[in-house]
């Protein structure tokens, strides 16, 4: 084994003594690492008496003596005696004594008289760091503080020129059409920008703009603007609650990160939050980040998509979804740990452009924009969402916010080929406007998978085929979700965590840039997600990644067949949409998903699109 490889490290003399032959594996691992780093290491045989170990160590004059022994009440006296012998023999004039083994922990090491104690979960690196005199906090792992750029290195060039040509043609047509139209959603986004720039400096103008804004709202949101009546199930955030969030950020530097989760540091694992309460959200975000999440996704209430207009001020909501206001977002941002990626979703409803504005104003890193899913699976009128979606993409590009484009209409039953065609069209429209979209294919057991038999024998082939076909079409980041494993999880948290973890591992192994995971409560509908359920799947994902390592996951030859079918299907859909020559009409007419598939053009916002003057 090569020695002395590490520069700038003072070589140390280390004696390793197993006091029990069964427990010398840890010492052998430590020996290997120490030798690699140029230290002089002697591993004593396991059958020596304590007196013999002391005598041999004395002859070697070491800097460190490390022993290993599984601890029990009876054994503890023997270890204490060993410490005494080393002390009386003068070894401690120079050498540090270290104990490792099952049940060992710092307080027990202290009581026994060792200079340090390492338990079974201590990584070998910690023992090496100790020998090299580095300060290593053994209670905590590490966390990257710099934000990942999920779109870095991607060219957005089409690798499949036939599909690329069709996507570009359709996308340009839809942009041209949208640019001639406007909506109340587009107008409110413009007003929100103006309002926020005048809010403090020009109260009079702000008030006028706010009245204009209120005139463009609907439902309970409108009522709040006009009368101040709270939207159902909401109440203002209290000062005490805001204080909870601020204290989280104050303690961000001392946050304990479980070392076992360090493997997630280089993976972009996202979790979704949206308990309704920004305080609970802040705690869930904080603990998710502690357990290895690199990004979080804001979920707003479903009524936020159906009402025209967004509230102002900070609100707590008694049901799922945290109210989307600039104040709420800023409050949550105030508890975010540096380095965490934060996505504010804008993708499916009547407030899409304005949400991009709020995402920008609150300092979000990412947003989410979609036209096809929102139109066919989430209840928004296709014409309206096309106008709003194009404006949202323009704003995102202007504010340098990357966004994902989902294919959640697959959950309704829309085949992946149609959903992917829609996603590629929208993403292309984004690129044409200078944006940086991320493709977000459903990575789950979709209805199509069940009906066609793609997922009958395993959950690998169909998902791998999706990743492969997208990678073969365009050089763009892929961020499967959302969350992965959808419809495979049950209410059993063990099964749920395993399914999530394996899907996450498969996605990352298949080249995903990022992945969004669910909690182990994913299939439980009886109440809000709890904190331990979030930890469950982050732990499971770290374990799955550790298990597969660089080993990889191999699909069967079936994946290749599905990939071919997907590509042919996408091409066929694109040809139909291109031939129709009207993207919005294609949405209504079912080219990107029809009623038979389970897709229904939404009606929310119908008739609200007007020609620009």
């Amino acid at each position: 084994m090569e020695q002395g490889r590490s520069k700038g490290i003072t070589p140390r003399k280390v004696v390793l003594a197993p006091l029990d032959p069964v427990h010398d594996v840890g010492l052998k691992l430590i020996r290997r690492k120490l030798l690699e780093r140029g230290h002089e290491v002697t591993l004593l045989p396991p059958d020596l008496s304590m007196e013999e170990i002391v005598a041999r160590a004395k002859a070697m004059d070491p800097d460190f003596i490390m022993i290993s022994r599984a601890l029990s009440y009876g054994i503890s006296e023997l270890l204490a005696k060993f410490v005494d012998l080393c002390d009386a023999a003068g070894l401690r004039e120079k050498a540090k004594l270290v104990a490792g083994g099952l049940s060992m922990k710092p307080v027990i090491a202290q009581e026994l008289g060792f200079d340090a104690g390492f338990g079974p979960d201590t990584p070998v690196e910690a023992a090496v760091a100790y020998v090299e005199g580095q300060e290593l906090d053994l209670s905590t792992g590490s966390r990257r503080r710099e934000k990942a750029d999920l779109t870095a290195g991607f060219t957005y060039k089409f690798l499949d020129s036939e599909i690329g040509y069709l996507c570009t043609t359709i996308a340009q047509q839809l942009i041209d059409w949208a640019n001639k139209h406007t909506s109340s959603g587009v107008e409110r986004a413009r007003l929100r920008i103006e309002m926020e720039s005048e809010r403090d400096s020009n109260p009079g103008l702000y008030s006028t703009l706010r009245n204009d804004y209120a005139s463009l709202t609907s439902g309970e949101v409108k009522e709040w603007y006009l009368t101040g009546k709270h939207v159902s199930h909401t109440r203002p955030i209290t000062e005490k609650e805001a204080g909870y969030i601020r204290s989280l950020l104050k303690n961000a530097d001392s946050i304990v990160i479980p070392r076992s989760q360090d493997i997630l540091n280089d993976r972009n694992v996202f979790v979704q939050y949206g308990t309704g309460c920004p305080v609970m959200d802040a705690y869930h975000i904080n603990l998710s980040v502690a357990w290895g999440a690199r990004g979080v996704v804001h979920f707003d209430p479903s009524w936020g998509a159906r009402n025209e207009g967004l509230l102002e001020q900070a609100w707590s909501h008694e049901h799922d979804g945290t109210v989307l206001t600039l104040d709420n977002l800023r409050l949550i941002k105030g508890g975010l740990i540096p380095g965490i990626l934060w996505q504010v979703r804008a993708h499916r409803g009547l407030n899409t452009p304005e949400t991009v504005v709020l995402a920008h104003l609150s300092g979000a890193d990412l947003t989410k924009i979609n036209i096809v899913y929102g139109s066919l699976g989430a209840g928004t009128d296709p014409e309206r969402l096309t106008v709003d979606g194009v404006e949202a993409m323009r704003l995102a590009a202007q504010h340098n916010l990357p966004y994902d484009v989902v294919t959640n209409e697959e959950l309704c039953g829309v085949p992946a080929a149609k959903a992917f065609a829609g996603m590629l069209i929208v993403a292309t429209a984004g690129v044409l406007q200078g944006g940086r979209p991320l493709l977000q294919p459903l990575f789950a057991n979709s209805p199509e998978g069940m009906v066609t038999g793609y997922t009958e024998h395993n959950f690998i082939d169909f998902n791998v085929a999706k990743m492969r076909v997208l990678s073969s079409i365009i050089d763009a980041p892929i961020w499967p979700g959302a969350p992965v494993g959808f419809l495979t999880q049950t209410q059993d948290r063990c099964q749920s965590s395993v399914m999530t973890a394996l899907h996450a591992a498969l996605a990352l192994d298949s080249g995903a840039t990022a992945v969004t995971i669910a909690s182990s409560d994913e299939a439980y509908a009886g109440g809000p997600i709890t904190a331990p359920a979030r930890v469950d799947t982050l732990k499971a994902t770290a374990a799955a990644l550790r298990f597969f390592g660089e080993g990889g996951i191999s699909p069967t030859p079936e994946a290749e067949r599905i990939e071919t079918e997907l590509r042919e299907g996408i091409l066929e859909v694109l040809k139909k949409v291109a031939a129709r020559g009207d993207f919005v009409a294609s949405l209504y007419e079912g080219h990107l998903g029809d009623k038979e598939d389970g897709a229904y053009p939404g009606r929310s916002g119908k008739g609200t699109v007007t020609l620009k003057h």
Binding site: M280, D281, H317, Q491, D492, Y524, G527, P528, A531
Partner: protein
């Protein structure tokens, strides 16, 4: 103050209850949660196998938007 108030949101109890079927298992599970003092309890998961159910019960101490008292008093 009860230590329960330091629970961030919910407290899960996972166990195996001897019973004749899932319905009895759920009923016994919810009675157990009531005995433990959880007023807002639910069955998250319950599956019959062999002599009883593998069950996960949840008592919400704080649902979102509740009046959290995590740090109001020493525990």
């Amino acid at each position: 103050m009860s230590i329960k108030h330091r629970i961030l949101d919910g407290c899960d109890v996972e166990t195996f209850i001897l019973c004749k079927d899932v319905d009895e298992g759920k009923t016994l599970g919810l009675r157990l949660m009531a005995e433990l003092g959880f007023e807002d309890a639910d069955v998250v998961f319950c599956e019959m196998g062999g002599p009883g159910v593998r069950i996960r019960l949840r008592g919400y101490v704080y649902r979102p938007s509740a009046d959290y008292q995590w740090y109001d008093q020493e525990v």
